[in-house]
Protein backbone atom coordinates (compact mmCIF):
# COMPACT_ATOMS: atom_id res chain seq x y z
CA UNK A 1 0.00 0.00 0.00
CA UNK A 2 1.04 3.59 -0.59
CA UNK A 3 3.00 5.15 2.18
CA UNK A 4 2.09 8.71 3.04
CA UNK A 5 4.07 11.58 4.55
CA UNK A 6 3.15 12.60 8.09
CA UNK A 7 4.34 15.71 9.90
CA UNK A 8 3.45 16.01 13.58
CA UNK A 9 4.56 18.34 16.34
CA UNK A 10 5.27 16.20 19.39
CA UNK A 11 6.08 17.91 22.69
CA UNK A 12 6.99 21.02 20.71
CA UNK A 13 9.38 19.29 18.34
CA UNK A 14 8.53 18.54 14.72
CA UNK A 15 8.72 14.99 13.43
CA UNK A 16 8.41 13.98 9.79
CA UNK A 17 8.15 10.44 8.46
CA UNK A 18 6.60 8.42 5.68
CA UNK A 19 4.38 5.61 6.91
CA UNK A 20 1.75 3.12 5.85
CA UNK A 21 -1.77 4.44 6.61
CA UNK A 22 -2.35 1.50 8.98
CA UNK A 23 0.37 2.66 11.40
CA UNK A 24 -1.28 3.96 14.56
CA UNK A 25 -0.27 7.19 16.23
CA UNK A 26 1.01 5.11 19.16
CA UNK A 27 3.34 3.08 16.93
CA UNK A 28 4.39 6.26 15.13
CA UNK A 29 5.37 7.88 18.44
CA UNK A 30 7.28 4.83 19.61
CA UNK A 31 8.96 3.75 16.40
CA UNK A 32 9.34 6.90 14.30
CA UNK A 33 9.79 9.45 17.07
CA UNK A 34 11.62 7.18 19.54
CA UNK A 35 9.21 8.26 22.28
CA UNK A 36 8.59 4.97 24.05
CA UNK A 37 6.87 6.53 27.05
CA UNK A 38 3.53 5.95 25.33
CA UNK A 39 2.72 2.33 26.17
CA UNK A 40 0.56 -0.09 24.24
CA UNK A 41 -1.48 -2.50 26.33
CA UNK A 42 -4.56 -3.80 24.58
CA UNK A 43 -4.23 -2.02 21.21
CA UNK A 44 -7.99 -1.78 20.85
CA UNK A 45 -8.98 1.14 23.01
CA UNK A 46 -9.89 -0.64 26.22
CA UNK A 47 -6.94 -0.13 28.57
CA UNK A 48 -5.99 3.53 28.17
CA UNK A 49 -2.22 2.99 28.50
CA UNK A 50 -1.56 4.77 25.18
CA UNK A 51 -3.47 7.96 26.07
CA UNK A 52 -1.85 11.13 24.69
CA UNK A 53 -3.05 14.69 24.22
CA UNK A 54 -3.98 15.56 20.62
CA UNK A 55 -4.38 19.33 20.19
CA UNK A 56 -4.87 19.31 23.97
CA UNK A 57 -7.57 16.62 24.08
CA UNK A 58 -6.95 13.23 25.69
CA UNK A 59 -7.25 10.48 23.07
CA UNK A 60 -6.33 6.82 22.61
CA UNK A 61 -3.21 6.79 20.42
CA UNK A 62 -3.96 3.18 19.41
CA UNK A 63 -7.31 4.22 17.87
CA UNK A 64 -5.92 6.92 15.60
CA UNK A 65 -3.83 6.35 12.52
CA UNK A 66 -0.75 8.55 12.28
CA UNK A 67 -1.84 9.84 8.85
CA UNK A 68 -4.96 11.29 10.51
CA UNK A 69 -2.99 13.68 12.73
CA UNK A 70 -0.80 15.19 10.00
CA UNK A 71 -0.23 18.83 10.94
CA UNK A 72 -1.56 18.48 14.48
CA UNK A 73 0.08 18.76 17.90
CA UNK A 74 0.64 15.85 20.24
CA UNK A 75 1.75 15.86 23.87
CA UNK A 76 3.03 12.56 25.24
CA UNK A 77 4.07 11.70 28.80
CA UNK A 78 7.59 12.85 27.87
CA UNK A 79 6.19 16.36 27.39
CA UNK A 80 4.35 16.63 30.71
CA UNK A 81 7.31 17.50 32.97
CA UNK A 82 9.14 20.84 32.67
CA UNK A 83 12.08 20.98 30.28
CA UNK A 84 14.44 21.00 33.27
CA UNK A 85 12.97 17.71 34.46
CA UNK A 86 10.83 19.07 37.29
CA UNK A 87 7.83 16.80 37.64
CA UNK A 88 4.41 18.26 36.91
CA UNK A 89 2.00 18.47 39.88
CA UNK A 90 0.26 15.33 38.59
CA UNK A 91 3.50 13.39 38.27
CA UNK A 92 4.74 14.55 41.69
CA UNK A 93 1.46 13.54 43.31
CA UNK A 94 1.52 10.12 41.64
CA UNK A 95 4.96 9.52 43.14
CA UNK A 96 4.08 10.78 46.60
CA UNK A 97 0.79 8.91 46.84
CA UNK A 98 2.13 5.59 45.52
CA UNK A 99 -0.05 5.93 42.44
CA UNK A 100 2.07 3.41 40.59
CA UNK A 101 3.79 0.11 41.10
CA UNK A 102 4.98 -1.52 37.88
CA UNK A 103 4.44 1.73 35.98
CA UNK A 104 3.12 0.30 32.73
CA UNK A 105 -0.21 2.10 32.88
CA UNK A 106 1.26 5.29 34.39
CA UNK A 107 1.84 7.30 31.18
CA UNK A 108 -1.83 6.89 30.28
CA UNK A 109 -2.91 7.90 33.77
CA UNK A 110 -0.62 10.95 33.83
CA UNK A 111 -1.90 12.25 30.49
CA UNK A 112 -5.52 11.47 31.37
CA UNK A 113 -5.32 13.12 34.80
CA UNK A 114 -3.58 16.14 33.27
CA UNK A 115 -6.52 16.62 30.86
CA UNK A 116 -9.08 15.81 33.56
CA UNK A 117 -7.79 18.45 36.00
CA UNK A 118 -7.43 21.06 33.29
CA UNK A 119 -11.14 20.72 32.46
CA UNK A 120 -12.27 20.16 36.05
CA UNK A 121 -9.69 21.57 38.50
CA UNK A 122 -11.50 20.44 41.69
CA UNK A 123 -13.20 17.12 40.92
CA UNK A 124 -15.19 15.15 43.47
CA UNK A 125 -14.22 11.59 44.35
CA UNK A 126 -16.98 10.32 42.06
CA UNK A 127 -15.85 12.54 39.19
CA UNK A 128 -12.29 11.29 39.60
CA UNK A 129 -13.38 7.66 39.52
CA UNK A 130 -15.58 8.29 36.51
CA UNK A 131 -12.76 10.21 34.81
CA UNK A 132 -10.29 7.40 35.39
CA UNK A 133 -12.68 4.62 34.38
CA UNK A 134 -11.05 4.47 30.96
CA UNK A 135 -7.62 3.57 32.32
CA UNK A 136 -6.69 0.13 33.65
CA UNK A 137 -4.20 -0.39 36.45
CA UNK A 138 -3.49 -3.98 37.45
CA UNK A 139 -1.23 -3.23 40.42
CA UNK A 140 -2.40 -0.46 42.69
CA UNK A 141 -6.09 -1.07 43.23
CA UNK A 142 -6.57 2.58 42.20
CA UNK A 143 -6.68 4.04 45.75
CA UNK A 144 -3.24 5.63 45.44
CA UNK A 145 -4.13 7.00 42.01
CA UNK A 146 -7.37 8.57 43.25
CA UNK A 147 -5.45 10.07 46.17
CA UNK A 148 -2.88 11.43 43.73
CA UNK A 149 -5.59 13.21 41.74
CA UNK A 150 -6.91 14.83 44.92
CA UNK A 151 -3.41 15.90 45.91
CA UNK A 152 -2.59 17.26 42.46
CA UNK A 153 -5.86 19.20 42.48
CA UNK A 154 -5.00 20.72 45.88
CA UNK A 155 -1.45 21.57 44.88
CA UNK A 156 -2.72 23.42 41.82
CA UNK A 157 -5.52 25.24 43.68
Amino acid sequence: MHELPVGVSVNGRRYQATVEPRVTLADFLREKCGLTGTHLGCEHGACGACTVLLDGQAVRACLIFAVQVDGQEVTTVEGIASSDGTLSPVQAAMRECHGLQCGFCTPGFVTSITALLRDNPQPTDEEIREGLSGNFCRCTGYQGIVNAVHQAAQSQA
Binding site: P21, R22, T24, C42, H44, A58, V59, R60, Q68, S112
Partner: protein, 295 residues
Protein backbone atom coordinates in the same frame (compact mmCIF):
# COMPACT_ATOMS: atom_id res chain seq x y z
CA UNK B 1 -3.52 -6.36 16.90
CA UNK B 2 -2.53 -4.30 13.90
CA UNK B 3 -4.93 -3.39 11.11
CA UNK B 4 -4.34 -4.85 7.67
CA UNK B 5 -3.19 -2.50 4.91
CA UNK B 6 -5.66 -0.05 3.41
CA UNK B 7 -5.60 3.03 1.22
CA UNK B 8 -6.32 6.27 3.06
CA UNK B 9 -8.39 9.16 1.74
CA UNK B 10 -9.07 12.42 3.54
CA UNK B 11 -11.62 14.53 1.68
CA UNK B 12 -12.27 18.12 2.76
CA UNK B 13 -15.89 18.30 1.60
CA UNK B 14 -19.03 16.17 1.61
CA UNK B 15 -18.99 16.23 -2.20
CA UNK B 16 -15.49 14.74 -2.28
CA UNK B 17 -16.37 12.13 0.35
CA UNK B 18 -19.47 11.08 -1.60
CA UNK B 19 -17.38 10.94 -4.78
CA UNK B 20 -14.96 8.52 -3.11
CA UNK B 21 -17.83 6.34 -1.91
CA UNK B 22 -19.27 6.32 -5.42
CA UNK B 23 -15.90 5.28 -6.80
CA UNK B 24 -15.14 2.49 -4.34
CA UNK B 25 -18.60 1.35 -3.19
CA UNK B 26 -18.43 -1.73 -0.96
CA UNK B 27 -14.64 -1.52 -0.83
CA UNK B 28 -14.71 1.75 1.10
CA UNK B 29 -15.69 2.58 4.66
CA UNK B 30 -16.18 5.94 6.28
CA UNK B 31 -13.74 6.62 9.12
CA UNK B 32 -15.15 9.27 11.47
CA UNK B 33 -13.90 9.10 15.07
CA UNK B 34 -12.76 5.51 14.62
CA UNK B 35 -13.57 4.52 18.20
CA UNK B 36 -15.56 1.47 17.05
CA UNK B 37 -14.12 0.93 13.58
CA UNK B 38 -10.41 0.99 14.47
CA UNK B 39 -10.68 -1.72 17.17
CA UNK B 40 -12.57 -3.90 14.68
CA UNK B 41 -9.83 -3.29 12.10
CA UNK B 42 -7.11 -3.98 14.66
CA UNK B 43 -8.70 -7.26 15.69
CA UNK B 44 -9.27 -8.01 11.99
CA UNK B 45 -12.96 -8.51 12.54
CA UNK B 46 -13.51 -6.40 9.45
CA UNK B 47 -11.48 -5.17 6.50
CA UNK B 48 -11.81 -2.45 3.86
CA UNK B 49 -9.59 -1.62 0.90
CA UNK B 50 -10.23 2.08 1.41
CA UNK B 51 -10.89 4.25 4.42
CA UNK B 52 -12.44 7.66 3.81
CA UNK B 53 -11.59 9.89 6.78
CA UNK B 54 -14.25 12.58 7.34
CA UNK B 55 -12.71 13.93 10.55
CA UNK B 56 -11.65 17.13 8.77
CA UNK B 57 -14.83 17.81 6.80
CA UNK B 58 -15.75 21.02 8.59
CA UNK B 59 -19.26 21.22 7.11
CA UNK B 60 -20.09 18.04 9.09
CA UNK B 61 -19.23 19.58 12.46
CA UNK B 62 -22.06 22.02 13.06
CA UNK B 63 -24.88 22.14 15.58
CA UNK B 64 -27.83 24.35 14.68
CA UNK B 65 -31.49 24.94 15.45
CA UNK B 66 -33.77 24.73 12.41
CA UNK B 67 -37.50 25.10 11.96
CA UNK B 68 -39.41 23.65 9.00
CA UNK B 69 -42.40 21.38 8.22
CA UNK B 70 -41.17 19.00 10.89
CA UNK B 71 -41.16 21.72 13.56
CA UNK B 72 -38.14 22.90 15.52
CA UNK B 73 -35.19 20.52 15.42
CA UNK B 74 -31.56 20.53 16.40
CA UNK B 75 -29.39 19.47 13.47
CA UNK B 76 -26.09 17.90 14.41
CA UNK B 77 -23.41 17.31 11.79
CA UNK B 78 -22.22 13.71 11.55
CA UNK B 79 -18.59 14.42 12.42
CA UNK B 80 -19.39 16.35 15.61
CA UNK B 81 -17.54 14.67 18.49
CA UNK B 82 -19.51 13.37 21.49
CA UNK B 83 -17.58 15.78 23.74
CA UNK B 84 -18.89 18.79 21.78
CA UNK B 85 -22.46 17.46 21.73
CA UNK B 86 -22.25 16.92 25.48
CA UNK B 87 -21.15 20.46 26.30
CA UNK B 88 -23.25 22.35 23.74
CA UNK B 89 -25.70 24.83 25.30
CA UNK B 90 -28.23 24.63 22.44
CA UNK B 91 -28.32 20.84 22.74
CA UNK B 92 -28.72 21.04 26.53
CA UNK B 93 -31.61 23.45 26.14
CA UNK B 94 -33.38 21.77 23.22
CA UNK B 95 -32.53 18.04 23.27
CA UNK B 96 -31.61 17.29 26.90
CA UNK B 97 -31.62 13.51 26.28
CA UNK B 98 -28.42 13.91 24.24
CA UNK B 99 -26.72 15.91 26.99
CA UNK B 100 -27.83 13.44 29.66
CA UNK B 101 -26.73 10.39 27.67
CA UNK B 102 -23.30 11.70 26.61
CA UNK B 103 -21.46 10.95 29.89
CA UNK B 104 -22.50 7.29 29.53
CA UNK B 105 -20.70 6.91 26.18
CA UNK B 106 -17.38 5.16 26.73
CA UNK B 107 -14.82 7.23 28.60
CA UNK B 108 -13.88 10.89 28.17
CA UNK B 109 -10.85 9.91 26.06
CA UNK B 110 -13.30 8.16 23.70
CA UNK B 111 -15.75 11.05 23.62
CA UNK B 112 -13.09 13.49 22.43
CA UNK B 113 -12.79 11.48 19.25
CA UNK B 114 -16.00 9.49 18.72
CA UNK B 115 -18.70 11.22 16.67
CA UNK B 116 -22.49 11.39 16.78
CA UNK B 117 -22.81 10.32 13.15
CA UNK B 118 -20.40 7.46 13.67
CA UNK B 119 -22.40 6.18 16.64
CA UNK B 120 -25.65 6.30 14.65
CA UNK B 121 -24.16 4.71 11.52
CA UNK B 122 -22.44 1.97 13.54
CA UNK B 123 -25.86 1.20 15.03
CA UNK B 124 -24.78 -0.69 18.10
CA UNK B 125 -27.92 -1.75 20.02
CA UNK B 126 -26.32 -0.48 23.24
CA UNK B 127 -25.43 2.94 21.78
CA UNK B 128 -26.94 5.86 23.66
CA UNK B 129 -27.35 8.29 20.76
CA UNK B 130 -28.96 5.59 18.61
CA UNK B 131 -31.56 4.96 21.33
CA UNK B 132 -32.19 8.70 21.68
CA UNK B 133 -32.56 9.09 17.89
CA UNK B 134 -35.11 6.29 17.80
CA UNK B 135 -36.96 7.52 20.88
CA UNK B 136 -37.33 11.08 19.58
CA UNK B 137 -38.19 10.08 15.99
CA UNK B 138 -35.09 11.84 14.71
CA UNK B 139 -34.41 11.98 10.98
CA UNK B 140 -31.11 10.87 9.54
CA UNK B 141 -29.78 12.70 6.51
CA UNK B 142 -27.67 10.83 3.98
CA UNK B 143 -25.83 12.14 0.91
CA UNK B 144 -25.01 10.16 -2.21
CA UNK B 145 -24.46 10.89 -5.90
CA UNK B 146 -28.28 10.84 -6.19
CA UNK B 147 -28.58 13.76 -3.77
CA UNK B 148 -29.67 13.93 -0.15
CA UNK B 149 -32.49 12.08 1.56
CA UNK B 150 -33.87 11.94 5.08
CA UNK B 151 -34.51 8.59 6.74
CA UNK B 152 -36.84 8.36 9.77
CA UNK B 153 -35.01 6.70 12.66
CA UNK B 154 -37.76 4.06 12.84
CA UNK B 155 -36.69 2.89 9.36
CA UNK B 156 -32.96 3.33 9.87
CA UNK B 157 -31.90 0.63 12.34
CA UNK B 158 -32.50 -2.64 10.51
CA UNK B 159 -30.44 -5.15 12.49
CA UNK B 160 -27.33 -5.70 14.60
CA UNK B 161 -24.86 -3.07 13.30
CA UNK B 162 -27.03 -2.80 10.19
CA UNK B 163 -28.81 0.25 8.83
CA UNK B 164 -30.75 1.25 5.75
CA UNK B 165 -27.79 3.34 4.51
CA UNK B 166 -26.62 2.28 1.05
CA UNK B 167 -22.94 1.53 0.40
CA UNK B 168 -22.52 4.83 -1.45
CA UNK B 169 -24.35 6.95 1.11
CA UNK B 170 -22.66 9.19 3.66
CA UNK B 171 -24.53 9.97 6.87
CA UNK B 172 -24.27 13.77 7.00
CA UNK B 173 -26.47 14.90 9.89
CA UNK B 174 -29.14 13.88 12.36
CA UNK B 175 -32.15 16.10 13.09
CA UNK B 176 -33.52 15.75 16.63
CA UNK B 177 -37.03 17.18 17.27
CA UNK B 178 -37.24 19.72 20.08
CA UNK B 179 -39.78 19.01 22.83
CA UNK B 180 -41.03 22.08 24.63
CA UNK B 181 -43.66 22.68 27.29
CA UNK B 182 -43.92 20.90 30.64
CA UNK B 183 -41.29 18.29 29.87
CA UNK B 184 -38.95 16.05 31.78
CA UNK B 185 -36.06 13.95 30.52
CA UNK B 186 -33.90 11.24 32.06
CA UNK B 187 -31.38 8.60 31.05
CA UNK B 188 -30.54 5.61 33.20
CA UNK B 189 -28.33 2.67 32.37
CA UNK B 190 -26.55 -0.09 34.20
CA UNK B 191 -23.04 -1.32 33.41
CA UNK B 192 -20.59 -3.18 35.62
CA UNK B 193 -18.02 -0.43 35.14
CA UNK B 194 -18.71 3.18 34.14
CA UNK B 195 -18.33 3.56 30.38
CA UNK B 196 -18.73 -0.10 29.51
CA UNK B 197 -21.51 -1.14 27.16
CA UNK B 198 -24.70 -1.04 29.18
CA UNK B 199 -26.29 -4.33 30.19
CA UNK B 200 -29.53 -2.42 29.77
CA UNK B 201 -30.57 1.21 29.72
CA UNK B 202 -33.51 3.51 29.13
CA UNK B 203 -34.21 7.06 28.05
CA UNK B 204 -37.49 8.71 28.99
CA UNK B 205 -38.97 11.93 27.62
CA UNK B 206 -42.36 13.01 28.94
CA UNK B 207 -44.59 16.02 28.36
CA UNK B 208 -47.49 16.83 30.68
CA UNK B 209 -50.59 18.91 30.05
CA UNK B 210 -51.91 21.52 32.50
CA UNK B 211 -53.84 18.84 34.44
CA UNK B 212 -50.75 16.64 34.97
CA UNK B 213 -51.86 14.17 32.32
CA UNK B 214 -49.29 12.62 30.00
CA UNK B 215 -49.51 14.53 26.73
CA UNK B 216 -46.82 12.36 25.22
CA UNK B 217 -44.14 9.98 26.38
CA UNK B 218 -41.21 8.40 24.59
CA UNK B 219 -39.19 5.51 25.96
CA UNK B 220 -35.90 4.53 24.31
CA UNK B 221 -34.29 1.20 25.22
CA UNK B 222 -30.67 0.19 24.76
CA UNK B 223 -28.94 -3.14 25.14
CA UNK B 224 -32.31 -4.90 24.92
CA UNK B 225 -32.39 -6.19 21.34
CA UNK B 226 -30.45 -6.46 18.11
CA UNK B 227 -31.23 -2.78 17.49
CA UNK B 228 -32.18 0.15 19.72
CA UNK B 229 -35.81 -0.28 20.80
CA UNK B 230 -38.83 1.68 21.97
CA UNK B 231 -41.11 0.84 24.85
CA UNK B 232 -44.11 1.35 22.59
CA UNK B 233 -46.69 -0.51 24.66
CA UNK B 234 -45.77 1.45 27.75
CA UNK B 235 -45.89 4.74 25.83
CA UNK B 236 -49.36 3.97 24.47
CA UNK B 237 -50.69 2.75 27.81
CA UNK B 238 -49.93 5.92 29.74
CA UNK B 239 -50.70 8.62 27.19
CA UNK B 240 -53.63 10.66 28.51
CA UNK B 241 -53.38 9.28 32.04
CA UNK B 242 -52.68 11.36 35.13
CA UNK B 243 -49.06 10.90 36.20
CA UNK B 244 -49.87 10.27 39.84
CA UNK B 245 -51.95 7.20 38.79
CA UNK B 246 -49.04 5.58 36.96
CA UNK B 247 -46.85 3.05 38.75
CA UNK B 248 -43.19 3.33 37.72
CA UNK B 249 -42.65 -0.40 38.27
CA UNK B 250 -45.67 -1.30 36.16
CA UNK B 251 -44.48 1.06 33.43
CA UNK B 252 -41.05 -0.61 33.47
CA UNK B 253 -42.56 -4.07 33.07
CA UNK B 254 -44.86 -2.85 30.30
CA UNK B 255 -41.92 -1.29 28.41
CA UNK B 256 -40.30 -4.73 28.25
CA UNK B 257 -43.40 -6.51 26.98
CA UNK B 258 -42.83 -6.15 23.25
CA UNK B 259 -39.17 -7.21 23.21
CA UNK B 260 -38.38 -10.32 21.17
CA UNK B 261 -34.61 -10.51 20.79
CA UNK B 262 -33.10 -9.51 24.11
CA UNK B 263 -29.43 -10.56 24.02
CA UNK B 264 -28.05 -13.27 26.28
CA UNK B 265 -24.29 -13.35 26.78
CA UNK B 266 -21.68 -13.61 29.50
CA UNK B 267 -22.91 -10.27 30.91
CA UNK B 268 -26.29 -11.76 31.69
CA UNK B 269 -29.23 -13.80 30.50
CA UNK B 270 -32.14 -12.33 28.55
CA UNK B 271 -34.41 -12.47 31.61
CA UNK B 272 -31.80 -10.68 33.72
CA UNK B 273 -31.41 -7.95 31.12
CA UNK B 274 -35.17 -7.58 30.93
CA UNK B 275 -35.43 -7.13 34.68
CA UNK B 276 -32.59 -4.58 34.65
CA UNK B 277 -34.26 -2.81 31.71
CA UNK B 278 -37.58 -2.58 33.55
CA UNK B 279 -35.82 -1.07 36.55
CA UNK B 280 -33.95 1.44 34.39
CA UNK B 281 -37.24 2.53 32.76
CA UNK B 282 -38.87 2.88 36.18
CA UNK B 283 -36.03 4.99 37.56
CA UNK B 284 -35.77 7.17 34.45
CA UNK B 285 -39.55 7.68 34.49
CA UNK B 286 -39.53 8.76 38.14
CA UNK B 287 -36.75 11.24 37.46
CA UNK B 288 -38.36 12.57 34.27
CA UNK B 289 -41.82 13.17 35.78
CA UNK B 290 -40.28 14.89 38.81
CA UNK B 291 -38.68 17.36 36.43
CA UNK B 292 -41.86 17.76 34.37
CA UNK B 293 -44.09 18.35 37.41
CA UNK B 294 -41.72 21.05 38.60
CA UNK B 295 -41.38 22.66 35.16
Amino acid sequence: MKAASFAYHRPDTVADAVGLLAEYGDEAKILAGGQSLVPMLAMRLTYFENLVDISRVDELKNIELRDDDHGPQVWIGAATPHALVGMDDEVAESVPLLTLSTPHIGHFQIRTRGTLGGAIAHADPAAEYAAVALALDARIEAASPRGRRQIPAAEFFTGLWETSLQADELLTAVAFPVWSGRCGFAVREFARRHGDFAIAGATVAVELDADDRVARCSIGLLGLGSTPKRGTQAEDAITGRTVTDISAEELGRLAMSGLEDVPADNQGSASYRTRVGATMVARAWTEAITEALNA
